[in-house]
Symmetry: C2
Subunit: 369 residues, 2 copies
DNA sequence: GTTAGCACTCGAAAAGGTTGAGTGCTAACA
DNA sequence: TGTTAGCACTCAACCTTTTCGAGTGCTAAC
């Protein structure tokens, strides 16, 4: 945050102009271009001198002797930290987003998937969403639904509004009444309990109460466990992979190939998603070589974590070329985050009760905006 | 099917050699290459003459005067219809597939998604799966699960083992007992009925029986209807889009771009999926210009429809370059189809009862293999 | 009917030439 | 002391030319 002590007003201005131009044109930027396009009352020669200084300080670099300059990671970092203009308000867009989220609000995983799609559409980059792996999942309801003589549906509803179901076959017919009875026993015993307290053994014991044969109960309890496991598992959504090819950086198909390979790798995704960090706005921006470890050194990742009532419900990351349009990406994610958290707070009393209980108020817009 | 009357044994042999070589190398094939690689006791000159004949007959064409030959659509068609060798059995692969399908068998949409993934993995091409839009959906069970005071989960299980659920908020608290009571009424009245007999009005009327306020019942019935609608809607799964870039035909990124654009277009997908036709094996192969209408004239599509108990439960299509490895693609899809239908028939008595009722036997492997 | 031989074609790759945007440096200027 | 004009230099991009070789068609001999 201190790196701009050495940069005077003019250097900052020129750096910003170079980066803006480069983001837009994806061509190395020359001093004459800046002198012509950005009216700063300076000749190309002066700008040339300043750019030489900026290069020496590490904010810019040139691909080869006689070409224009390209921002370095350090340059981008300064740009992101100090020069981003807040995006213009866009009520139409806001309305559209609200609309697209409207009927998704009830279930978090659908909600985050929808957010991921929206963000990808807004930014034209790849977006990766994930539901956050909560340390402990509370089971809100377990239900066993009779489907026909030889199959039942196990349904588990957990907090964070996660619903998982599994259709299981049972070896011998079971009357619907017995199923409902069993469902009642299981449900009464476990709803409200944290998942780790529900072991296979306890489920079995409870099931035994119903007097149904072990052979029949086993697949059902297995089904319930499968559902709980799925509730605890993080989900990932990658959206907009096709848009990628539209970026001019992928003129060469090999780059596209290697990027696609990388982005499909599960470990890489996890690293991207889990990149922590908390700037004032709640976004994490990781630029170029800053995330070299992941093989992502030519790319930048901007991550927004969504927090409701103090706990993280998931995140959306945008992955794009280092010269991505940070302004657009950051404002889109900020916007999304704000809107989602506000909406969740408003709906809190209804669809996400167990989370808002923890916040002091859920009427005003008071939380950690 | 009659086009090979004019082709003698030797021409067929040469045609096959050219296509095999082209599929493998993706380079126009010259007469000398054939003479060298495929030991047919003929000199390049003879082969050259034959190839000239084949070109005149429309089975081959040459990109320019002094290059090798490339198969035409007619050539591929002959190849596909008459020259495909059955794939070697591969027990390890078979076991892997069975394993990957194992716990997916209960729900058709998951099953088809899994099949699509597997086929794409096996062939290295893009695969598109779809659940077949049944004309009428039968509802097997409807359940309303109390989640907490202000939200309930509506669950609809339809035939073809489709499960849809939706979490809905209700405006005023409702005790779990009342919810279960309501669930019982709705379920008893509608399970086993075809979906079109369940109108919003009838649901409402039934709900009124419970004596719960209309305000509260409405979002719940809406939820049920949403679920039914989803059961009736076809789903599409596109898998392996990234693999595409590995094909040498996408040396030029613009081709990749336009293909991706095309493959994302919903209408194109529907055309691909709905391409009908029934060869003896139950697969449809549409080659190059044969599907010119769809803008797919440089690609081929192989579609397998999965039929269980006489009705179609969905399909998987492989979309790839015209010079795709037909042998591999066709055998993979045939294999998948066989396995899936056999498995469905075996499991029939348990997880897919209403479909197997219609078949005469479900013990032997007797059906339309 | 098959094959060897040969002239010819034409794309792909290599080699050479030109252009122009961009740089660094120096010297003049305010 | 900071700014600017001028100039020599660099180097990727682009165009043109040349070379190369795989492939063809045709003819004549087997």
């Amino acid at each position: 945050m201190e790196e701009n002590k050495e940069l005077d007003e003019r250097k900052l201005m020129i750096l910003k102009a170079v980066i803006d131009d480069y983001i837009q044109s994806f061509e190395p930027v020359g001093s004459r271009t800046i002198a012509r396009k950005y009216d700063m009352g300076l000749s190309s020669a002066t700008i040339r001198n300043e750019m030489a200084d900026l290069e020496e300080m590490g904010y810019l670099s040139s691909p080869h002797t006689s070409s224009g300059r390209v921002p370095s990671t350090k340059g981008y970092r300064t740009y992101v930290n100090h020069m981003l203009e807040p995006a213009a308000e866009n009520p139409a867009l806001a309305a559209e987003i609200v609309g697209r989220l409207e009927d998704k609000m009830t279930e978090y995983s659908k909600l985050i998937k929808a957010c991921t799609e929206i963000v990808s559409d807004m930014t034209h980059y790849i977006a990766i969403g994930s539901t956050h792996g909560r340390d402990s999942v509370n089971v809100k309801a377990i239900q066993i639904v009779p489907v026909d003589e030889t199959s039942v549906l196990t349904v588990v509803v957990a907090d964070a509004n996660t619903v998982k179901s599994k259709l299981v076959s049972i070896p011998e017919p079971l009357e619907p009444e017995r199923v409902i009875e069993l469902s009642g026993i299981v449900n009464r015993s476990f709803s409200g309990k944290p998942a780790e307290m529900i072991s296979l053994m306890t489920v079995n014991r409870v099931a035994d109460e119903s007097g149904i044969s072990r052979n029949t109960v086993l697949p059902i309890t297995d089904g319930i466990f499968e559902c709980i496991k799925q509730c605890e598992t993080d989900e990932f959504f990658t959206e907009g992979a096709a848009k990628l090819l539209k970026s001019p950086e992928f003129d060469n198909i090999d780059k596209a190939r290697s990027f696609i390979d990388m982005i499909q790798d599960k470990e890489t995704i996890e690293k991207i998603v889990n990149a922590s960090g908390d700037s004032e706005s709640g976004l994490t921006v990781s630029i170029g070589t800053e995330n070299s470890g992941e093989g992502l050194s030519d790319y930048s990742v901007v991550t927004a974590k969504f927090e409701v009532g103090g706990s993280c419900i998931g995140s959306v990351s945008v992955v794009g070329p280092t010269r991505m349009d940070y302004s657009k990406v950051i404002s889109s994610l900020e916007y999304m985050k704000q809107m989602l958290e506000k909406k969740a707070r408003e709906d809190g009393g209804r669809s996400i009760p167990e989370l808002t209980v923890k916040t002091e108020d859920n009427e005003g817009g008071g939380g950690a905006s």
